[in-house]
C-alpha cells in the first residue's frame, strides 16, 4: 500500500470520512480537518508507520501534502539508518 493509501484509510477510520472524498487534492480544511486534528493525525501516523515525525513545520493543506511530507521523512530517516 502506498503512503497516500495508508493515510486515506486512516482518515476514514479516525475522522469517519468517506474514502471517495479523500482525493489527493482534497483540501484538509474543507474536509473538516482543522489544524488540531492534523496534529493528532500525525501523532497516530507515527504509530502506524513506525516513523518519527520531525519537528520541522510542513505546509499541510491537502491529503497529498501529508503523504509527500511523510514520504520525505521516511526517506530521510532510512537514509540516516
Amino acid at each position: 500500500m502506498s503512503t497516500l493509501e495508508i493515510i486515506q484509510n486512516m482518515m476514514v477510520k479516525q475522522f469517519d470520512l468517506k474514502l471517495e472524498d479523500l482525493t489527493p487534492t482534497a483540501k484538509l480544511q474543507s474536509l473538516g480537518i482543522d489544524s488540531l486534528s492534523v496534529i493528532e493525525f500525525m501523532f497516530n501516523l507515527e504509530d502506524e508507520l513506525k516513523i518519527k515525525i520531525t519537528e520541522e513545520r510542513f505546509e499541510l493543506n491537502t491529503v497529498q501534502d501529508i503523504a509527500t511530507a511523510v514520504d520525505q521523512m521516511i526517506a530521510a530517516q532510512q537514509g540516516n539508518a
Binding site: F15, I33, S37, M42, F43
Partner: protein
C-alpha cells in the same frame, strides 16, 4: 436595582439517567446508581464500587472529529447543556450573545487525559504524549466548549472549590444576572474522575464507603449509624438561568426563581467540616432570599455519609432552624447518585428544584438505623409526594471549607 433570576431549563447526565424525567423518577423511587465498577484497572483498586456512568455513548452525540479534542467531562457537560438549552427553548440574538455566559464547576477537569499523559511520561523510556493533552485536560475545557457551541460571548468561568464547585458556579452565575452583568447564564458542573490515580488518592484518604455485603447499591448510607463514607461518581448537570423579565417576555417555562445564595468559608480546617461555618452560610443565603427558616420546605443535604460530615451538617441545620429543624424534610440524594464531586452541587440543586416543581421529596435511602447524633427528618427510604412546597434549599460543603447554599422558590410574577 437587583433583578430577579429564574431557572428556565435543566439538563443532566448522571448515574441515574441522562434526562431530568428519568433522573427524578429514579430518585423518587429510591433507586441506586451505585454499583460494581467496570474499569480495566480494577485489580489495582481496593474499592470496587462507584456511581459510574456505563450507558453513555459519546458517538451518539459527537463525531469522531469532535471527540479528538473533547474529554469525557466535557462530553457530559455538552450533553447536559444541550438538554437544558432545548428545555428552555433558548435562542440568543447577536446582540444578546455578549450578555450571555457560562459558569461550570469541576474538581479535576479532564482527569483521564492528564493521567494518561503522566503515565506516558513517568513510565516509558521514550514518552509520547498525545498532542492535544492540554486541550483535553484543562479544567476550563467543558465551559469553553459550551461557550463556543452556544455563542456565549460573556463570562466563561470555571470554579474549582472541591465539592461545592458547581453550587458556587450556579450562585456566581445567578449574581451576574441579578446585578446586571448578564441576562442569560448556563451554569452547572461536570466531573469524570473515575481514573486510577484519582480513585487511589481517594482510597488513601480513607473517606470512601466500604461495600455493603448484601447489596453494592446500598453502600452509601448518609445519616445512618452504619455509614462508612462517600461513593465516588461522575456526570454533569447544567441549568439555564435567565433574567426573569426576559423569561416572562418570551413566555418561557419557569421552573423556579433562584432567590438566595451564599458562599462562605469555615476558615478553620482543610477537611474537618464545621457547623459554625455552615450555619453562617445558610443564614446569609436565607437573608438574601428574604425568607424565614419556616419558609423552607425541603433541604437537599450535602450528606456525604462521612462520620463527621453528617453530624456537623445536622448541627448546622439545628443551629439555624431551631425548633423548626425537626419539621423540615432533609434528604441526601447522594445515597443514590453518589458524590459527583465538581458536579454534585448542580445535580443536587437540580434535584431540589425538581422536588419543588413536582411537590415531591426524594428519600435518603439505606437509612434504617439513624445515628443518634443525626436526629432530623431525613425522609428515610421512602420519597414523599403530594406536598405543598414553596421554597427549597441545597447545601454544598467542601473540603477546604468552601461552603455554598442555594435557595429556590416557586416563581410568582410581581
Amino acid at each position: 436595582m437587583a433583578r430577579r433570576v429564574v431557572i428556565s431549563g435543566l439538563g443532566v447526565v448522571s448515574p441515574l439517567g441522562h434526562d431530568i424525567t428519568t433522573f427524578f423518577a429514579r430518585l423518587m423511587a429510591g433507586q441506586s446508581g451505585i454499583k460494581q465498577l467496570k474499569l480495566p484497572f480494577l485489580d489495582q483498586l481496593s474499592t470496587r464500587i462507584g456511581a459510574q456512568i456505563t450507558d453513555f455513548d459519546p458517538s451518539a452525540h459527537f463525531s469522531k472529529m469532535q471527540l479528538t479534542s473533547m474529554e469525557r467531562f466535557s462530553q457530559f457537560a455538552l450533553v447536559a447543556a444541550a438538554q437544558a438549552v432545548a428545555d428552555a427553548q433558548l435562542e440568543l440574538s447577536e446582540t444578546e450573545q455578549p450578555r450571555a455566559g457560562v459558569c461550570i464547576g469541576s474538581c479535576l477537569g479532564g482527569a483521564g487525559s492528564l493521567e494518561d499523559g503522566y503515565t506516558e511520561v513517568m513510565q516509558r523510556d521514550k514518552p509520547r504524549v498525545k498532542p492535544l493533552s492540554v486541550l483535553l485536560s484543562m479544567n476550563n475545557a467543558a465551559a469553553s466548549h459550551i461557550s463556543i457551541k452556544y455563542g456565549l460571548q460573556g463570562p466563561n468561568i470555571t470554579y474549582a472549590t472541591a465539592c461545592s464547585s458547581s453550587a458556587i458556579a450556579i450562585g456566581e452565575a445567578y449574581r451576574k444576572i441579578k446585578h446586571g452583568y448578564c441576562d442569560v447564564m448556563l451554569a452547572g458542573g461536570a466531573e469524570a474522575m473515575l481514573t486510577l490515580g484519582a480513585i487511589k488518592a481517594w482510597e488513601a484518604l480513607r473517606t470512601l464507603a466500604s461495600e455493603d455485603e448484601q447489596d453494592a447499591g446500598a453502600s452509601c448510607k448518609p445519616f445512618a449509624q452504619d455509614r462508612s463514607g462517600l461513593v465516588l461518581g461522575e456526570g454533569a448537570a447544567v441549568l439555564v438561568l435567565e433574567d426573569a423579565e426576559r423569561a416572562l417576555k418570551r413566555g418561557a417555562k419557569i421552573y423556579a426563581e433562584l432567590v438566595g445564595y451564599d458562599c462562605s468559608s469555615d476558615a478553620n480546617h482543610i477537611t474537618k467540616p464545621d457547623a459554625a461555618g455552615q450555619s453562617r452560610t445558610i443564614v446569609k443565603a436565607l437573608h438574601e432570599a428574604g425568607l424565614q427558616p419556616q419558609d423552607i420546605g425541603y433541604i437537599n443535604a450535602h450528606g456525604t455519609a462521612t462520620m463527621a460530615g453528617d453530624i456537623q451538617e445536622t448541627l448546622a441545620i439545628k443551629n439555624v432552624f431551631g425548633a423548626h429543624a425537626k419539621n423540615i424534610p432533609v434528604s441526601s440524594t447522594k445515597s443514590m447518585h453518589g458524590h459527583l464531586m465538581g458536579a454534585t452541587g448542580a445535580v443536587e440543586f437540580m434535584a431540589a428544584v425538581l422536588a419543588l416543581e413536582h411537590n415531591a421529596i426524594p428519600p435518603t435511602i439505606n437509612l434504617h438505623h439513624a445515628d443518634p447524633e443525626c436526629d432530623l427528618d431525613y425522609v428515610p427510604n421512602q420519597g414523599r409526594i403530594g406536598l405543598n412546597l414553596n421554597a427549597v434549599m441545597s447545601n454544598s460543603f467542601a473540603f477546604g471549607g468552601s461552603n455554598a447554599v442555594l435557595i429556590a422558590k416557586r416563581f410568582q410574577p410581581a
